[in-house]
């Protein structure tokens, strides 16, 4: 069965520190990859996505992620975090074999707390 694993459950950083959140998935076929963010009390927002092409994708708010196919990974990075980045971050995978059903497999989320 397909699964998504986020290794960091709770990350605490100081402002201006660099961020990397790990995400690995298990699926041997073609995948579409996503990072979503959920700010306190708000809806899930799409940070960035990878469908094909350049494996380094840039998203909103200075976030980027790199798809490494050989490692089944899609890690999220930001060079310098801000207090406003405090939120829950979710990695998700949509397998091409899902036939464009919109079925996303999510990781369990990482809580990021940025100290001012």
């Amino acid at each position: 069965a397909q699964s998504v694993s986020q290794h960091n459950h709770h990350v605490i950083l100081s402002e201006a520190a660099s961020l990397e959140l790990g995400c690995n998935y298990s699926y041997g076929g073609t995948v579409n990859l996503f990072w979503y963010v959920q700010y306190p009390g708000q809806h899930l927002q799409l940070l960035l996505k990878y469908f094909s092409g350049d494996p380094l994708v840039k998203g909103i708010k200075g976030f980027e992620a790199e798809f490494i196919k050989s490692k089944f990974s899609f890690n999220l990075r930001k060079p310098s975090v801000q207090w406003s980045d405090t939120a829950e971050y979710f990695c998700a995978v949509n397998a091409e074999g899902s036939g464009n059903t919109g079925k996303l497999i999510f990781g369990q989320g990482t809580t990021l707390q940025v100290k001012p």
Binding site: Q42, H43, L44, Q45, L46, G102, Q108
Partner: protein, 113 residues
């Protein structure tokens, strides 16, 4: 304007009750979803509807019945609520042409006492 809106935001109820959660999207999308986030924060798909037709049903108990009166609405009715139903329920929608692009609501936190 909120693109995908859910009501209520919080729902506290007793075991055995029947409750509904409503979802509406104003994005003109054809496909709508219900996802459940459990206490460990895992989000998992429950249902998907395209133009009022059920296309995904992920082995959800019969007590859960989605209803789509039109393509802009997908409501979730839950009968005989159980303690284990306590979770956050997220509605989402996507365009038919690219169902990978999901837009989520802000969630309904259901607490069953």
């Amino acid at each position: 304007d909120t693109a995908v809106s859910q009501t209520p935001k919080y729902l506290v109820t007793q075991m055995g009750n029947d409750k509904s959660i409503k979802c509406e999207q104003n994005l003109g999308h054809d496909t709508m979803y219900w996802y459940k986030q459990d206490s460990k924060k895992f989000l998992k798909i429950m249902f998907s509807y395209n133009n009022k037709e059920l296309i995904i049903n992920e082995t959800v108990p019969n007590r859960f019945s989605p209803k789509s009166p039109d393509k802009a609405h997908l409501n979730l009715h839950i009968n005989s609520l159980e303690l284990g139903d306590s979770a956050v329920y997220f509605c989402a929608s996507s365009p038919y042409r690219d169902r990978r692009q999901l837009f989520f609501g802000s969630g309904t936190q259901l607490s069953v006492l």
